[in-house]
């Protein structure tokens, strides 16, 4: 794919790969075992500008395009999808502020996010049927010239380590999604409580927790009641970055399985000589190749400021199928050894599904795609 990339993008890709090799590879297994938040690595990421990818230079960001960002995410994910996930969720919050924030909000929040001095998170999912519905929905009420939030967000990525949350709440429960509004909330705000860290299948070093809001002060991001289109675009941009993660994990898994197949001898030959294995490798790498092109096409649309939500939804749909289905096959190649937690494949198997979680599993992305076609 390098012929599609500029010189800068190729250099960024190479540097991200070198970074992943040097700093992430040695600790990926340990991070997965302990689930400990890799604070030192986050500092290292910051020093390489990997927490302010596409943010404007005037706020301390690197101002590289979304394609470079996706390339970096893919490379980091090859070594540790958990660490890459911390970056992706943080960057999603930064994207929101950069895209919809006022000049004051950008000046106030972006520099610290760009430098990694503060981390971000986006809180969307709720226990109820959909955002704004159910007794625990996050409702925003006006108070003292501003807003306060009450309710619960669940499974928030980066919860507990984030300093700043982008939170979606409804100003009018009766109006539902039509009153959805994006807010900025400081982690230190009174009444904000982060629940116990969730134990997850994979991506263990990336914290996940519920966040409860009790009269928590919040400032509007964007315009009141304009949260639905904001959420749609934000989730779409996030989907592309997450799909880059999936491609990174799957790409590495294929290479790992191929190497194994060349070394494992059965029936007098390396199993890579058998058509059964060749078929599996061919299918998985083909799907990965196609997914990768789709990711970078969508990333290029974002970089060029073109409409991208349909393409992002397609990328998400494809990546979701690609992820676990590929790992089912690559682990199969490695047989009993692949099933052992002492080999790397089992960890990749557990990580990959975490890269393609749907925020509202039953609505997006098929509906988004269909809406644009019919």
């Amino acid at each position: 794919m390098s012929y599609l990339l500029t010189e800068d993008q190729q250099l960024i890709q190479k540097n991200a790969r070198d970074f992943a090799k040097q700093y992430l590879e040695p600790m990926a297994v340990q991070l997965d075992k302990t689930g400990e938040f890799p604070a030192e690595v986050v500092k290292k990421l910051a020093s390489h500008d990997f927490l302010g990818w596409f943010l404007p230079a005037e706020f301390g960001g690197a101002e590289v395009g979304y394609v470079s960002y996706a390339l970096g995410v893919e490379e980091l994910s090859r070594a540790s999808a958990a660490v890459a996930s911390i970056v992706v969720n943080h960057s999603s919050a930064a994207y929101a502020i950069n895209r919809w924030g006022t000049a004051e909000q950008k000046k106030k929040y972006l520099p610290a996010l760009a430098k990694g001095e503060k981390l971000g998170a986006v809180a969307m999912s709720e226990p109820g049927p959909s955002v704004g519905q159910g007794p625990e929905a996050v409702i925003a009420t006006q108070q003292d010239g501003g807003y306060v939030l009450n309710g619960c967000k669940c499974y928030v990525a980066n919860a507990g380590v984030a300093d700043l949350y982008v939170v979606f709440g409804c100003t009018d429960p009766a109006a539902g999604a039509k009153s959805l509004t994006a807010f900025l909330v400081s982690a230190k705000a009174a009444g904000l409580e982060v629940g116990a860290k969730k134990s997850t299948m994979g991506l263990r070093a990336r914290p996940t927790a519920d966040v409860v809001f009790r009269n928590v002060a919040a400032e509007v991001l964007g315009t009141v009641n304009a949260g639905t289109p904001i959420a749609a675009e934000l989730l779409a941009a996030l989907a592309v970055a997450e799909a880059a993660q999936t491609v990174g994990v799957v790409g590495f898994a294929v290479e790992h399985a191929a190497k194994y197949a060349q070394q494992r001898v059965q029936f007098g030959r390396p199993i890579s000589a058998f058509q059964a294995i060749q078929t599996i490798l061919a299918e998985v790498s083909t799907n990965c190749y196609v997914a990768r092109l789709a990711v970078y096409d969508a990333a290029a649309l974002i970089e060029q400021g073109k409409p991208f939500t349909t393409e992002a939804a397609m990328v998400k749909l494809f990546a979701q199928r690609l992820g676990i289905n590929s790992l089912v096959e690559t682990l199969q190649i490695e047989g009993g050894y692949g099933y052992s937690e002492e080999m790397f494949m089992a960890k990749l198997f557990r990580d990959v599904s975490g890269t393609t979680i749907l925020e509202s599993p039953l609505e997006f992305p098929e509906q988004v795609i269909a809406a644009s076609i019919a």
Binding site: M201, I324, G335, S340, F349, L362
Partner: protein, 386 residues
């Protein structure tokens, strides 16, 4: 296929057993990887250890379909636990198929008394390729001395009885493989490693080393050279059981989705059509797999050759479990990915079903082999039968 009232009652009891003994603790054993030793006694009390052992040896002599139904319920509870109890069968099938009356008595007694059995065929260099096995059995006087190593052996650290395969005549390759029944704890039979696995973590999986393991000649199953035939016949019987267990895993995944949606949607009809169709597809696949597995088991009960149906049942069951559990994981989003939900465990438990007791690639070799054999040109002009 419709279950008889007796089978339905046994199914209900098995479901109760899973709900009482397995489901409440499965997640914790999965987390720690500790072996649930208590289940051996509980299974003995519920008569689940000797399901296929003939009555004259104290077993329950259940037909294969009924055994499969039980395993489906145990798999529903936890595949790790089901593997412990299911592989028990794989261990004792060998003496059941090829043992003398004394050998059967010798092998079955400790199982019936409340013990596990293990089946030791796989070696580090011999996974799908059994012929690459290196373990040897040298006859000296009236005993065999076994040397070699086996890996990925279920219940190896806890089994009271083992069925072990080794080469009595290495120069003959597979035709020189023999099967032995060995008492657990025999000197020279050493557990060297416990596997840390992605799933079925409650099940014990070990590496075994045989160092001058002395086995009386009376414990040779059949004749020297019968080993491959006995091993394959045992696996033929066990494979539909893997299929059954897999159907249980898949059914659990579907039920967990329904449970989740009943909580999340006060009015479940509000569940979108796309999601409803996904649930319907899961149900279709589970039923198809269930009936395929039960068919293979009923062919077994009819005393007919089962190699083909057994391979189909194992493949269909395990592929279905893998597909249904991953669909469920996608449907349940972040909740499904967390340990608040059992579905991510079901995905991990489903994966091994495609691998052990013959990978699904080996199953396809078996099936394709039979298909190809059916279209081979005949040597004579005799009319081709079906």
């Amino acid at each position: 296929m419709i279950l008889t009232p007796e089978q339905q009652e046994i199914q209900r009891l098995a479901r109760e057993f899973a709900e009482k003994h397995i489901i409440p603790v499965a997640a914790e054993y999965d987390r720690t990887g500790e072996f649930p030793e208590f289940i051996i006694e509980a299974a003995k009390k519920a008569d689940l250890l000797a399901m296929g052992i003939p009555k004259q040896f104290g077993g329950r002599a259940l037909d294969a379909v009924t055994q499969g139904v039980i395993l489906e319920e145990l798999g529903y509870g936890c595949a790790g636990f089901a593997t412990i109890l299911g592989v028990n069968g794989l261990g004792y099938y060998a003496p059941l198929l090829a043992g003398t009356e004394e050998q059967k008595k010798f092998y079955f007694a400790p199982i019936v008394a409340g013990g596990l059995s293990a089946f030791a065929l796989t070696e580090p260099a011999a996974g799908s390729d059994v012929s690459a096995g290196k373990s040897t059995a040298k006859k000296i006087g009236d005993e065999y001395i076994l040397n070699g190593s086996k890996c990925f052996i279920t219940s190896g650290a806890y089994a009271k009885m083992f069925t072990i395969f080794a080469l009595t005549d290495p120069s003959k390759g597979l035709k020189g493989l023999s099967g032995f029944i060995v008492k657990g704890g025999s000197p020279g039979l050493v557990v060297t490693k416990h596997e840390n696995k992605l799933g079925i973590r409650g099940s014990n999986t070990v590496e075994l080393v045989m160092q001058d393991l002395k086995v009386p000649a009376s414990q040779l199953l059949g004749k020297e050279g019968d080993g491959m035939r006995i091993a394959m016949a045992s696996l033929d019987m066990a494979r539909p059981m893997v299929g059954s267990q897999s159907v249980g895993i898949a059914q659990r995944a579907l039920d967990e989705c329904l449970k989740y949606f009943s909580k999340k949607y006060p009015d479940p009809r509000k569940l979108g059509q796309a999601a409803q169709f996904k649930l319907a597809d899961m149900r279709i696949q589970i039923e198809a797999a269930r009936q395929t597995v039960r068919h293979a088991l009923s062919v077994k009960d009819a005393g007919l050759p089962i190699t083909m149906d057994s391979a189909i049942a194992k493949t269909m069951g395990s592929d279905t479990a893998m597909h249904v559990t991953t669909e469920a994981l996608a449907l349940l989003g972040a909740y499904g990915y967390s340990h608040d939900c059992v579905v991510e465990k079901l995905v991990r438990d489903a994966k091994i079903q495609q691998l052990y007791e013959g990978t699904n690639q080996v199953q396809r070799l078996v099936i394709a082999g039979q298909l190809i054999a059916s279209i081979m040109p005949k040597a004579t002009t005799a009319k081709a039968g079906r």
